[in-house]
């Protein structure tokens, strides 16, 4: 494995009381590439995600994020909202967390909160209607419109997000995360609950995010057709440890991976073997 790494996870450990959820996990995600984190249910994937995005504080290990300019940030030392604000790591959730009572456009405007706060002079300039803020708001609306177009929801911009169909909510959540203009986009099971057609559209969307915008993506996914099709690199976890990593082809043929999936769930094992071939 060579190349420019955006994320380096080094000997990450997470314990909840006596339960070890993640142990001695090391992997890296390359810049402008899609890295997938897979594994049977309960392998500790979401725990790793929560450590990277600041929702948990890791019990041990280091998580380093290197920005384009070369500055490196220790994510395990940043907490809470600062990971999204300073380290520019955006995430989506396994169980979609939109703002259901706000419109699609408003959801995307909230995502640009920090940029707009600066533009509004921390509210004071905005309150008196300074022209600079109006310009910034217009640009924010343009960016939001652009993303609504990309995820094919432009005609529903003024509808409440809570009224959207499941697949649309998933796409809107990705658009909202992208409106924070992240360096690393973390997606927690973006294809869960999507039908085959929606999954294909999702793959296309993620590839376009990687190729056109150069955003690095880290994703957890169970839908192997998506994982095998779009991932550049796959990390396989089971019971809190890494059991394999490599290209989709390498991982698919790895006997340890097949054993882990066979031991966990026959359907998933079959999916691993068939997916992407």
């Amino acid at each position: 494995m060579s190349g420019d790494k955006i994320l380096n996870v080094d000997r990450l450990a997470m314990r909840f009381g006596g339960i070890v959820a993640v142990q001695d996990l090391s992997f890296a995600a390359e810049r402008r590439k899609i890295t997938a984190l897979i594994g049977p249910n309960g392998a500790g994937k979401t725990t790793v995600f929560n450590c990277i995005t600041g929702f948990y504080k890791p019990s041990g290990g280091a998580i380093r994020l290197t920005h384009d300019g070369g500055t490196t940030i220790a994510l395990e030392r940043l907490n809470d909202f600062r990971i999204a604000k300073q380290a520019k790591v955006a995430r989506t959730f396994q169980n979609i967390r939109l703002f259901p009572g706000m419109t699609a456009l408003e959801n995307l405007m909230v995502a640009q909160h920090n940029a707009l706060m600066r533009a509004s002079g921390f509210t004071f300039l905005g309150l008196i209607g300074a022209p600079g803020y109006r310009e910034a708001e217009k640009r924010a609306i343009d960016l939001a419109t652009d993303w609504l177009k990309r995820v094919n929801l432009l005609d529903r911009a003024d509808d409440a997000a809570g009224n959207f169909a499941y697949g649309d909510q998933r796409r809107l959540e990705i658009a909202r995360a992208m409106c924070t203009e992240p360096a690393l986009l973390c997606l927690d099971e973006p294809a869960a609950g999507l039908n085959a057609r929606e999954s294909a559209a999702l793959s296309e969307l993620l590839l376009s995010i990687r190729d056109e915008l150069g955003t690095s993506i880290l994703l957890i996914e169970h839908d192997m057709s998506v994982v095998m099709e779009i991932s550049d690199h796959i990390v396989v976890m089971d019971h809190g440890v890494k059991i394999a990593e490599g290209t989709p082809r390498e991982v698919r043929d790895d006997p340890k991976v097949i054993a882990a999936y066979l031991g966990a769930d026959e359907e998933e094992a079959a999916a691993v073997m068939e997916g992407g071939s």
């Binding site: 600041g54 959730f93 909230v110 707009l116 905005g126 309150l127 708001e137 995360a177």
Partner: protein, 439 residues
Amino acid sequence: MKAPSTHPIKPATSIPALLKTAFVNALIALVLFSLMIGIRTEAGSSGQLTYWTRFGDLASIVAAVFGGSIVIELLRQWIGPTGAEKLVPPAVQSGISFIGRYLAPALLIFTLLVPVMFYNQRYILDLAILVLTYVMLGWGLNVVVGLAGLLDLGYVAFYAVGAYSYGLLATNFGWSFWICLPLAGILAAFWGVLLGFPVLRLRGDYLAIVTLAFGEIIRLVIINWQDLTGGPNGVSGIPRPSFFGIPLDNSDDGLAARLGIEYSPTHRIVFLFYLILALALLTNWATIRLRRLPIGRAWEALREDEVACRALGINTTTTKLTAFATGAMFGGFAGAFFATRQGFISPESFTFQESALVLAIVVLGGMGSQLGVALAALAMIGGFELFRSLESYRMLVFGMAMVLIMIWRPRGLIGHRAPTVYLTKAQAISSDLVKEGHG
């Protein structure tokens, strides 16, 4: 609004079931009222307990419940199953939005004309000032509860801080109302932040309880810090507001003398009316404006989903603090107005009752809705006065009206939410989708 014909009709309840329901209700009534109505106790002439029974009254109450529950059950079947029609037809919706668009300006024009129309009716003017004070308090609390979704049961604390700030600054240093007004707001906001820091880690019920305690602490401090606040005796002799330096009194340099018109005490009342109206409109303007700024959107996003806010890089602590401080500041303004209007303040004016009343206004109005809060303040304060002729049944009628409104409109008078930004068309968002917040 006719129920669709395809709706499955519930089979009529059989007579034995009907009787059974009525019997159970009557039994509950018997248990409940046996002590309350069945036995009457009183202190005798030498302090001993005397009591006598009123089984006749008890029997008639129980019989009324028995009969009443049969009638209600029959009525219910006649009206049809409840909750059959959740969706409001588009025609009705557009009608409501049409009324909504013109109701607010109409109300504003009416309010502006109140002193003209009721110039000689001091009672109505006083009541209007009271209503407007609660409108302002409601709008202030609406920022905290309605927008940011933080349940604040101690809002009266900031009202008290504002009132005492003006009262003490004016009586001790002789500062004018117009200097003290912003100071009262700033001090209240400061206390809002001070309270916010330790408290905002808490969520939901816990936050509500701590804010409730904070409201009581402020009141107890005011009662006990006698050197500063005068304790239970309060602060008296608080100067009346001046018309930007010109006193509104009977003196030679008073406003009436300067304008060359005959002095009347009503001038001051009318001035106070327009003063609170201006303050309330300022609150409204600021809130509407803030909602469309990133900070206001962040408040609403916080109410919808705090975890998602954090994932988007929003500092939830400062966002909550600004909501608290903004609400507190408006409470402080209202407090300063209260002090100058009364001329006398004491801890008795700042009890939990007031917090509960303002919160009830916000909830009844529909959390987050400016117009709803104004209507609710009118209904709560004005309505309460309306029932004055009913004397001891006033509370009963009022309580029943509240219960009926909460059954009819559980999300408040105006439950839907207007979006803060739109591409093509702003459409109201149904209250079913909007979250109440959880602390």
